[in-house]
Symmetry: C2
Subunit: 234 residues, 2 copies
DNA sequence: CGATCGCGAGAACCATATTCTCCGATGAGG
DNA sequence: CCTCATCGGAGAATATGGTTCTCGCGATCG
């Protein structure tokens, strides 16, 4: 085989690729800094370029456009988040507890920081708008981007179903989708109900309660951990 | 009282206002046509102007900007939708049936038409993106815009709670918010689960099943009407 | 009749994404 | 060391879409 040719090519190509990836990472980091900054989302390509100390041309050489940058950020964010969630649920004893833990923790990660100075809780935040756009404009890409978290949740659901912790007749795939969207966009629910931005607390538990009593076989006890639901006038 | 002065003023102002409202309606109708057209959302202000046969200046005289046009469209759409839902649930015998009917019907209205040639099912469709933006950028306005539908759902929930058809410890306001967002953005759930665009059918019932078993007291029978849930590999 | 106002036509302006053009630096080959 | 090609930096140019401004005509009102 003529692998010597490949080798020769590789010798020139590899360093180039390495530099390219460093550049890409530079843009990604710059974008993250801007997301973390007070300007929040709505950063412009020019800002990313300036922040990264690189050039506009470099940007469009490494990314086909802003869209691709955002997609890369989203995928990175989802990947890290999935890893973090895996850690978080690792210590839970049974499938139902893991399910609850997943719900509460992911809900927390999808929430804007209570203190604006919170330590870079997640980078997803500014991505929310883009994520929504992707979900409507490019379902295929969106599904791929969220696959890590989705797979994790589906795993847990399958376990729970196998354990008999949740109803056996559930379509785990469909339910995982419903749960993910319910958790990610729970803030919409709060807004729709006119809940002022404070009075935040217990909403994760309320969501879990709603989901759990929909997931749990009728007579079965539920690992609530608390009963924070209160009546409207209470 | 100096109502004669108001009268005098009114005599000049009223026709002006009337013409203004006709103009506004013209822009609204034009926008709806564009939404219905194949170009779908993403219409530009210029297109609306051209379609309406009016002038750009008129537009910015009647609307403070594109944002306000979209807001008006959304409010109109929500209002009509709420009315339609009220009709739809009117014939249902009990609160729980009304709840189920509301869920299925609103889900249907929030769904892109299965046949692209469906008779202008709802105008909300193209508004989805704007609605999301409003929900994140201007919670107060968003809550106001969706108030008609929200109020309707809360009514039904209160009735259901009074009837003992759903758990008594539910915070109806919070649950209404969660239900609305779950229904409106159920398409996100399908996308996240990687469901291809076909295979659509039964997802409204699946959602209702999930919600109902979370809303219904444990041992209580549920007005399912069907049991379309199937296992993933089924 | 004349002044005022509404509004059509469209140019002008601004912000952003995207592309293009020029040019210097760097590194390989002679 | 010299030469040349490629990489990539700086930033001008272009495209699009929202928003504002200017002009002028015609209707309406006093």
């Amino acid at each position: 085989m003529a692998s010597w040719r490949e080798q020769a090519v590789a010798r020139t190509v590899d360093p180039v690729r390495a530099r390219a990836e460093k550049r890409v990472q530079g843009f990604l980091d710059a974008a993250l800094e801007l997301l973390a900054g007070e300007s929040g989302k709505d950063f412009t390509v020019q800002e990313v370029v300036k922040q990264s100390g690189q050039s506009l041309r470099s940007f469009y050489q490494n990314f086909s456009g802003k869209h691709e940058l955002l997609l890369a950020l989203l995928e990175e964010s989802v990947f890290k988040t999935a890893a973090r969630l895996r850690e978080a649920i690792a210590t839970e004893p049974d499938a139902l507890s893991r399910l609850r833990c997943f719900t509460l923790e992911y809900h927390r990660l999808c929430r804007p920081p209570t203190r604006p100075s919170s330590p870079r809780s997640v980078e997803i935040l500014g991505m929310a708008e883009f994520a929504q756009q992707l979900l409507t404009d490019d379902p295929k890409e969106a599904a791929r981007a969220f696959a890590p978290i989705f797979a994790l949740l589906e795993e847990i659901l399958d376990e729970a179903a196998a354990d008999g912790a949740v109803r056996a007749d559930l379509d785990c795939r469909a339910v995982a989708g419903a749960m993910l969207q319910a958790i990610m966009f729970n803030s919409f629910a709060l807004v729709l109900s006119g809940t002022p931005v404070r009075t935040r607390g217990g909403d994760a538990e309320a969501l879990w309660d709603l989901l759990a009593h929909g997931l749990t076989a009728e007579g079965r006890p539920v690992s609530d951990g608390n009963a924070l639901l209160r009546n409207r006038d209470g």
